[in-house]
Amino acid sequence: MFGVDIQTRKGRSLEVFGLLVISGLLAFFIAGRTAEMPWRIVMGGMGLLDAALAATWILGLPLIPTLVLVRAALGLVLGLGMMFALGLVPGLGLCFLAMALGIAAIPRARLPLLLILPGTFYLLIFFAFAVGIIAVISFLKRGPYGGIRWLFVLENYQRALDPLYVQIILLSLWIALVTTVLCLLIGYPVAYAMARAPARWRNALLILIMIPFWTNFLVRTLALMFVLRSDGPINGFLMAAGLIQEPLSLLFTQNAVILGLVYGELPFMILPLYATLERLDFSLVEAAYDLGANEWHAFRRVIWPLTLPGVLAGSTLVFIPSVGAFITPDLLGGAKTMMIGNVIQYQFLTVRHWPFGSALSLILMAMVLAATMVYLRVGGRERVL
């Protein structure tokens, strides 16, 4: 008799069964609508597998749960492939069903392991694998028309040590440092004021900080170009006020680049600062005053150390994208100041020297990693957000 022990089985038998049926039907449905031969067979095969698993699941044979998990993993991988071969909806449908199947079939105690799988998978494919490719390419030679030649060389790294590129890297670091310091100087008081504001205002203030994100960064940068122009509002105001006779050269300068970076990155400084300041117990500050500290000492000895994790988190979040910036120097700097991001973009798209571009990218990553390590060493042991 079918399903003799369906109630006695542990786990979620009925859900697993239902999911198998649904995904089987979906697989058949997709197979019926697909003209391309390999996919039709793959999907049909998957539907048959589901049907077979559903049928045997009721029998409760010992190996079946393992097979169901294998089927779930297979579905996840195939679903990702389907996203490209057959379109987003059937692909995602298969992925989600596979994940649901896995969650239903796995013993509860092991569930957390399964839940990190999609994320791990994603990072492995799209981060580790991609960086791995870049690392390999960085040791190869440039092919005659772009492309690569499979010859192991170190010349790309030697070339990166050329004073020309060292100079560009140093300049990028300097611009990023200035940006970070400016963001901190502007952002800290703002975050402090937000944290000290009446509770009912805080959410409104947070939304105000978020507003710039509602518009694309490129559009905001182009708008900034308009503001900084000779005939833009700033010069117009200064000239109308009689402060200057000739319009100031604001646009296409290194300062315009820094201005654009500060403007773009400021929210990333304010948000972590706000998070730490908001949790700060201000009775500690009052205690400091009671014990005779003046305002400077209270800040220096109490507030600053307690908010240091936020400062470091914010600085890291601002510094890292600033070092690799390439749109801002292009648009606001008029491509007159080359940052390392521009050189990398240039190597990939214009010169088509992928190996050298890859080597520079890895060097940039190593520097960012070093900055992150500093952050972890100094402040990362405390909870930041």
Binding site: L14, F17, Q167, D231, A335, K336
Partner: protein
């Protein structure tokens, strides 16, 4: 839920088994019927749709931005019932990078001259079937058989132009006509210059100013060009290929190194602007229609390319996007706006045309150019 559950399972299992047979029995969708909506071409116009039964419903064109008249696309859809879907790229290098990275599904691409030779060498282009391109007879032979595709096996010309400079006659009351005015700018021009953001164009212009070839691989000549560019840099406001039009119109710069089409459109917005092909000569370039090997609708693509070469269509296109058209019939029959035809910036006299140079792929020497460009970017 014991009994109920079991019954439910059985029920569903039966449905599933029933569904098993379904895909095999399900009728495959009817073959796409030939659109009866496509009207016969209007009388007096040749039919340009080829064998309609072989046309696809959609055609994917990968083109530069603002580089085809919407009217042309509408007419093709009306006449032949094919919807052209346009996607854009902003540089030849982006186009190459996208195709090399495996982008598929584009039926027609519009690479410039030097990129055509790279794509042919990389084996990325499909050979054109000349039988499907009878309108090729309308194309000026001067634009056929060029160095990058000597027998036009892979490409046909689309539009051509030059990279000269444009200045504002309202701000500069004298006549400028030499690269000297760009590289050794007069005081009223200093700080109000924009150059293209393109190493070959910028270094090439400096080479031309010095009387060298734009395709030189001689390090000494390149060194001299670098010195010219470093001397010029303090007077340059920006290196940009995308925003130079806006900068000219806004008066942010009064002189810009610019491509023909952008220049003509800037002048539409500000009539005091004047485009100049310098006396020393400059770059001539040609964008070409080609079919990548990965195209899915090659026949339809050829029909569309042929349609674009039809003189009335070529004229509509040239009148809208205002680049130089290689369509001799359209020019001779004055189908193109005379105001454009009489503009020496777009259709220069023969003597000047002879001084122009194609930018040819310089091979490994590109690294010399790259280094100069990077040094220029570092110099403050």
């Amino acid at each position: 839920m014991g009994i109920a559950g079991r019954g439910f399972c059985l029920l569903v299992l039966m449905t599933l088994l029933a569904a098993c047979g379904a895909p095999a029995a399900a009728p495959t969708p009817a073959p796409p019927s030939i659109s009866p909506a496509a009207p016969a071409s209007s009388p007096g116009l040749e039919d340009s749709c080829g064998d309609r039964s072989k046309l696809s419903k959609e055609l994917y064109l990968f083109n530069w931005p603002d580089y085809i008249a919407q009217e042309v696309l509408n007419r093709f859809e009306q006449e032949c019932g094919v919807k052209v879907i346009v996607d854009t790229y902003d540089s030849n290098e982006t186009l190459l990078a996208k195709l090399q990275a495996g982008a598929t599904g584009y039926d027609i691409i519009v690479p410039s001259d030097y990129m055509v030779s790279i794509m042919i060498k990389e084996g990325m282009l499909a050979e054109l079937d000349k039988n499907n391109l009878p309108n090729l007879k309308h194309i000026d032979p001067a634009h056929l058989g060029l160095y990058f595709d000597p027998e036009n096996r892979y490409t046909v010309p689309y539009m051509w132009g030059t990279s000269g400079f444009m200045y504002d006659t309202a701000a500069i009351p004298r006549e400028l006509k030499s690269w000297k005015d760009v590289f050794e700018p007069a005081p009223d021009v200093q700080g109000k210059i924009s150059m293209l953001k393109d190493e070959r164009e910028v270094i090439g212009a400096a080479l031309k100013y010095l009387g060298f070839s734009m395709n030189t691989t001689n390090p000494d000549e390149l060194q001299k060009a670098k010195e010219v560019l470093l001397r010029q840099k303090p007077y340059v406001k920006a290196y940009t290929s995308d925003t130079n039009r806006d900068l000219l119109v806004a008066g942010e710069v009064v002189l810009a190194h610019i491509w023909t089409g952008d220049a003509i459109r800037a002048r539409d917005a500000k009539p005091s602007l004047k485009y100049v092909i310098p006396d020393e000569g400059c770059t001539i370039w040609q964008d070409n229609l080609a079919i990548p090997k990965t195209a899915r609708n090659k026949y339809t693509a050829e029909v569309f390319i042929n349609f674009l070469m039809r003189p009335d269509i070529a004229a509509v296109n040239a009148n809208t996007i205002k680049f130089g058209s290689p369509n001799r019939t359209a020019i001779q029959q004055q189908l193109i706006d005379p105001a454009l035809l009489n503009d020496p910036g777009i259709y220069p006299p023969e003597a000047l045309k002879r001084k122009m140079e194609w930018l040819i792929d310089v091979g490994e020497a590109i690294e010399l150019y790259d280094r100069i460009w990077t040094e220029l970017g570092v110099e403050q």
